[in-house]
């Protein structure tokens, strides 16, 4: 009798499992599935995006490893930590502060994304030895680790695209070889399973071989540098449908800046900017951009942003070509005419970004004295185009 009962229960469980899988439909992934797809209207210098996201109430951003909230109602910046006793101290016991997400002062490897009413953030674990992908509510509570170990080598090493989450991992194989993998996992199944798209060898000494990757349409674009070599990296395309990897250019590209209007913007050899069209498969020089560089040789480009609608460019001016402690930030148009000078921080790590805030296009950039003073400057793009540079400043308490 007992045995019969157990067998019956087992049959029920198996049947339930079978029936539930019958009802499962494979996910149909389309552009519209991904509400926070890669921003293809702006390319920022140095890396494609800053970890900044906008909500109705304000902006979330990561600076120097801390997650902040800039309140648009009060115009105050506050770390995303609701602990009353917390001093949000940077020196000691940082792990006690909920706003502390990592140590990278440049926030290069920081990932921040908002999907629905959940924030997705890359956080260092308590031992500070690896990076995790964490989901949390907008007030920073109810945290959940989705992926335990991800590599946060670059801002573009994590991305949501067409219903998938793309990320890189560093691994050591049984044979002692170090490899770097680009993986993807359906957004609805993050943390459950992932698919390895690309695997490249990496030298033991080097931190990474795969430079920023960029998913665009049905392909994934990335650059790969042979371990130990200083020459330019190769540009690769991985086709999601054919599941093939092919070389687009050898030793040509140094960095993928981003995509504008479906075209890749790359930094090529000798500082030349190249545009790649996935449709025609052709490389073209970005003439106006390169011309700007040639005409203004004394301008060292450290922070920049190209926007397809507004054609803005921000250049750190420098007389001796070296990075200055207090460089200037200038807005120029595609013809190379300076429109206005900004008073915000012009540090290389503060790549500006154009964001739509409450229906208005704003240029978002860190305030003056980056690092010592936590402020966020918001410039209306309309005003900038007219030569006005009056920021709306959100600053800490």
């Amino acid at each position: 009798m007992k045995r019969a009962t157990i067998i019956l229960i087992c049959i029920c469980i198996i049947l339930q499992q079978l029936l539930s899988s019958c009802g499962y439909r494979p996910e149909i992934l389309s552009e519209s599935d991904d509400i926070s797809d890669f921003n293809t209207t702006t390319v920022s210098w140095f890396s494609s995006r800053r970890p900044v996201v906008v909500t109705e109430d304000g902006l979330y951003y990561i600076m120097e490893g801390w997650l902040y909230f800039a309140d648009l109602n009060t115009y105050k910046v506050h770390p995303l930590c609701s602990k009353l006793g917390c001093n949000h101290e940077k020196e000691e016991f940082s792990y006690k502060c909920d706003a502390f997400v990592g140590t990278d002062p440049r926030s290069i490897g920081s990932f921040l994304e908002l999907r629905g009413n959940k924030l997705y953030v890359s956080c260092m674990n308590a031992e500070m030895n690896h990076c995790q992908l964490v989901e949390m509510k907008e007030d920073g509570s109810a945290r959940k680790v989705l992926i335990e170990d991800i590599s946060n080598i670059d801002i573009n090493s994590m991305m949501f695209h067409r219903g998938y989450f793309y990320y890189t991992t560093n691994e050591q194989k049984e044979n002692g070889k170090f490899v770097q993998q680009i993986r993807r996992t359906p957004i609805k199944k993050i943390g459950e399973s992932s698919e390895v798209l690309v695997e490249v060898d990496r030298s033991e000494k080097e931190f990474f071989s795969v430079l920023p990757f960029l998913p665009l349409n049905d392909s994934l674009f990335f650059t790969e540098q042979a371990p130990g070599e200083d020459t330019g990296a190769d540009l690769f395309q991985y086709d999601f449908i054919k599941k093939e990897k092919k070389v687009l250019a050898e030793s040509e590209a140094v960095n993928i800046y981003g995509a504008v209007d479906g075209h890749l913007i790359l930094l090529g050899k000798e500082g030349k900017h190249i545009e790649y069209s996935p449709e025609t498969g052709e490389f073209e020089e970005v003439v106006w951009l390169n011309k700007l560089h040639e005409e203004h040789l004394d301008w060292k480009c450290q922070a920049g942003c190209i926007n397809e609608d507004f054609a803005l460019m921000f250049i750190v001016t420098n007389t001796d070509g070296k990075l200055s402690l207090n460089p200037d930030l200038v807005v120029v148009n595609r013809e190379g005419n300076a429109l206005c000078e900004l008073v915000s921080s012009a540090h290389a790590w503060t790549s500006p970004q154009v964001l739509s805030i409450r229906g208005e296009k704003y240029l978002v950039i860190y305030g003056p004295n980056f690092g010592s003073n936590n402020t966020l400057d918001l410039y209306k793009v309309r005003d900038l185009m007219q030569g006005k540079a009056e920021p709306e400043r959100i600053q800490s308490n």
Binding site: S82, L84, G85, N129, D139, R143, V145, N397
Partner: protein, 789 residues
């Protein structure tokens, strides 16, 4: 009560178990004592005298005095670093005159007040650490007041932020609750006092794992023995054999686990008190800066008590649940498995779940969290109970009490009513996997080794010790070591006639580097000149460090040349690479000795158990009672030892592979500077293989010796003690370095590096290896002869 006493007698009649408890407690306490040694950097007597002196002064004056003295001593230290040269003095004046001006004095006058400390570096450093500690405590006292007074304003500010302003959100509720909690405490009186000991206790959640393991051992003795021998049914037919017996067993297990916790955690508090000190234990816990966020009215003494009571509570809950599992699941293997899964889950949730996770209740209502008194009192946190913030400690107490009582109730209920789940595997599987009660000698011997002689606990302990030996994190080199290593990499490989010219080339490079700098003719402003002088001084220091690194390599090269002159094609390998692989000193020998002392618990009783119970002769009369029993026991011991040896050696291998990759394994053994005087030809690869093999054979000899002694001593406890003494004596010969005796001792297999270090011939290693193999074989043959005849 009588039943309880009988249950305790059952435990006390197991000397192996008692020795294991004693040994584990000792290991954990020694580990704790070593781990807190780094906190012992402040001179307590000096601290006390300065503190009393400061207490006599008004608060502001004391703070000012501490700052002034700290600055004065700091300037004295810097003055020494900048040196007596004119340039150094100019720089010193430029950099630090502002500090003296703060006190309305010139730099010279200010420093002259601290002249007494110029020559005595040790005394100055002692006083500096005392002043820094006191200053930190005084500043903390001021900041604490401010912190409490600012709280309402802070709460208001936080609640005004959009994302925290929703009244029904967890964040908003948590902010309001925090404010209520802190305000209900009021402003605690902060009294600076010596607090290193307070900071050291209460955070050891590793020891509780061992309390759990020991409790598991006690549960096996209390619950399984009667069940296995079939006496349980008989006992249950007696007048007090149901509820009272169950209650007695439950209480015995509970008291056992509480006692283990008291020994370990109580011991830790005593050690911290003696080595570091707690200061005045009547002062508020908030007086210790780590506990600023504690919102309970508690004294330091109270906290020390809680740091013992909380683990005791955790152990009691565990014991209660375990008693239930052993009664309900009947089979000890299955119950132990369930307990292991339970502990594992608890640990994973405690360790890896974030404090502000949606299910953070699982992190806090947890056995490991409950015993972590330090975190519970130093970090303010609330459990997110469906969006409502709930205090951690009361919830932990409540859930702990519920689990304790539920465990007690269900244990007694199930035992008295005979309710249980007897999990049975399919017959075919049972035939294959049947261990207990098997008539196969080999399987039975394994059961005896791992369960009867607590071999499984020994393996767990070895695993723990092995994990502690592995080097976590990154390999950090000092600047001097880094320079030495980088230079060394340039000449790594076989030493040739050209190597000498490399040194000349490097010297020239350094001379060239040093020749740059500013001259009198260079036109510079005063500020530029000061900056240039500073840069020049830094550069000079850097070049000096490089010279020292180069000199270090040159000295090593000269030593290696002596081997080369003997016709040995030595290679240059940096000491950074060889030192961790070919150990210096006695660390390897001591680790090996510790391993054998641990192995004594399980290996020593292999033969004596039968003799002690009087079953030896009966076993002899059976069909396979002689040769098969003998070889099965030896094979069991050998497998057990191999497993332990692997756990002993794996951490070393892990560290080598991870940090000290050596590619030059084909180099002669003399390439390791320590063995430069050794005679004969042998590669490092060959030497390493022989060394590991030698260690393994020596160890096998010790295990066989234990077996022989167990036959001679005939009693478990006597065998263990005698084996431990004999093995320790053998190791002592090598540890003390008696040159003639050491190669005769069995432990010489572990100490072959010492032989090469003394300039011995490489061939001796082979001789030792064969000698040890011979002794090992002789021990076994002798034992076999005694056993089978």
């Amino acid at each position: 009560m009588k039943l309880l006493v009988y249950e305790f007698r059952k435990l006390l009649s197991k000397p192996v178990f008692l020795l294991l408890v004693f040994f584990m407690t000792a290991v954990l306490l020694v580990r704790f004592s070593m781990s807190i040694s780094e906190l012992d950097y402040v001179d307590r007597a000096l601290y006390e005298s300065v503190r009393k002196e400061m207490e006599a002064l008004p608060r502001e004056e004391a703070l000012l005095r501490l700052q002034r003295d700290r600055d004065g001593l700091m300037l004295v230290s810097f003055q020494k670093i900048y040196g007596d040269t004119e340039e150094g003095q100019v720089l010193f004046q430029h950099q630090f005159s502002e500090i003296a001006e703060q006190y309305g004095m010139s730099l010279e006058d200010f420093i002259s007040e601290y002249e007494a400390y110029v020559s005595d570096d040790e005394e100055r450093e002692k006083l500096q650490s005392v002043l820094n500690t006191l200053l930190e405590q005084y500043n903390y006292r001021e900041n604490y007041r401010e912190f409490i007074r600012e709280l309402p304003e802070r709460a208001e500010g936080l609640s005004a932020i959009s994302i925290f302003s929703y009244v029904s959100s967890f964040s908003n509720r948590s902010i309001q609750k925090s404010l209520r909690d802190y305000l209900s405490l009021g402003e605690a009186e902060i009294r600076p006092d010596y607090d290193q000991g307070v900071k050291a206790v209460g955070s050891d959640y590793v020891s509780i794992l061992f309390v759990f393991i020991l409790t598991l051992g006690a549960a096996v003795i209390l619950f399984s023995e009667e069940e296995e021998s079939g006496l349980m049914r008989l006992l249950q037919t007696t007048k007090r054999g149901r509820t009272e017996l169950a209650a007695a067993k439950w209480a015995a297990l509970l008291l056992c686990s509480i006692s283990f916790t008291l020994f370990i955690y109580g011991g830790e508090v005593v050690i911290a008190g003696i080595r570091l000190g707690f200061g005045d234990i009547t002062r508020s816990l908030q007086s210790v800066s780590d506990f600023r966020d504690c919102c309970y009215r508690l004294s330091v003494g109270g906290y020390l008590g809680m740091s013992i009571l909380l683990p005791m509570g955790s152990a009691a809950v565990f014991a209660s649940l375990m008693a239930f599992l052993f009664i309900f699941l009947k089979r000890p293997w299955i119950a132990a498995g369930a307990v292991a899964v339970f502990i594992g889950l608890n640990y994973l949730l405690y360790r890896f779940l974030s404090e502000n996770a949606a299910l953070n209740a699982l992190k806090f209502v947890n056995l490991f969290s409950l015993c972590d008194a330090y975190s519970r009192y130093s970090v303010y946190c609330n459990i997110n109970f469906f969006g409502i913030p709930v205090s951690v400690l009361p919830s932990s107490f409540l859930s702990g009490a519920v689990m304790l009582l539920a465990g007690a109730f269900f244990s007694v209920f199930c035992f008295s009513k005979g309710i249980g789940l007897r999990i049975t595997f399919p017959l075919s599987f049972r035939r294959k996997s049947r261990i207990r009660g098997s008539v196969r000698v080999f399987i039975q011997e394994h059961y005896r080794m791992y369960i009867g002689a607590f071999g499984i606990l020994v393996i767990a302990l070895m695993l723990f010790l092995g994990y502690r030996k592995t080097e976590q994190g990154e390999l950090l080199l000092s600047n001097a070591d880094y320079l030495y290593y980088t230079y060394g990499q340039e000449i790594a490989g076989e030493i040739t006639d050209d190597t000498a010219s490399w040194f000349l080339k490097k010297q020239e490079e350094l001379n060239l580097e040093a020749s740059g700098g500013i001259t009198e003719d260079t036109e510079l402003t005063e500020e530029e000149r000061t900056a240039a002088l500073f840069a020049a001084q830094m550069k000079a220091r850097e070049i000096e460090e490089k010279r020292r690194a180069l000199q270090r390599i040159q000295e090593e090269y000269i030593l290696l040349e002596t081997a080369r002159s003997r016709g040995i094609p030595v290679h240059y390998i940096s000491k950074i690479q060889t030192d961790p692989v070919f150990f210096e000193g006695n660390t390897y020998l001591l680790s090996a000795l510790l391993m054998f002392l641990i192995l004594c618990f399980s290996c020593a009783p292999t033969f004596s158990q039968d003799e002690e119970s009087g079953m030896g002769r009966l076993v002899h009369t059976s069909k396979y009672g002689r040769n098969r029993v003998f070889f099965s026991r030896y094979l069991t011991m050998l497998l057990f030892y191999s497993c332990a040896f692997l756990l002993f050696f794996l951490p070393y291998l892990y560290n080598w592979v991870r940090f000290y990759r050596m590619t030059d394994w084909g180099a002669p053994v003399q390439s390791v500077l320590r063995y430069v005087h050794a005679e004969g030809n042998m590669t490092l690869r060959g030497f390493s293989v022989l060394w590991i093999l030698g260690s393994y054979i020596s160890g096998t000899g010790f295990v066989f010796l234990m077996a022989l002694l167990s036959r001679v001593c005939r009693k478990n406890s006597t065998t263990m003690i005698v084996s431990a003494v004999v093995i320790a004596a053998d190791f002592l010969v090598n540890l003390l370095g008696f040159s003639v005796m050491s190669s005769l001792a069995l432990s010489s297999g572990f100490a072959v590096t010492e032989i090469l270090e003394r300039g011995g011939r490489t061939g001796i290693i082979l001789v030792i290896l064969f000698k040890n193999a011979g002794i090992t074989a002789a021990l076994m043959l002798l034992h076999r002869r005694v056993f089978t005849k």
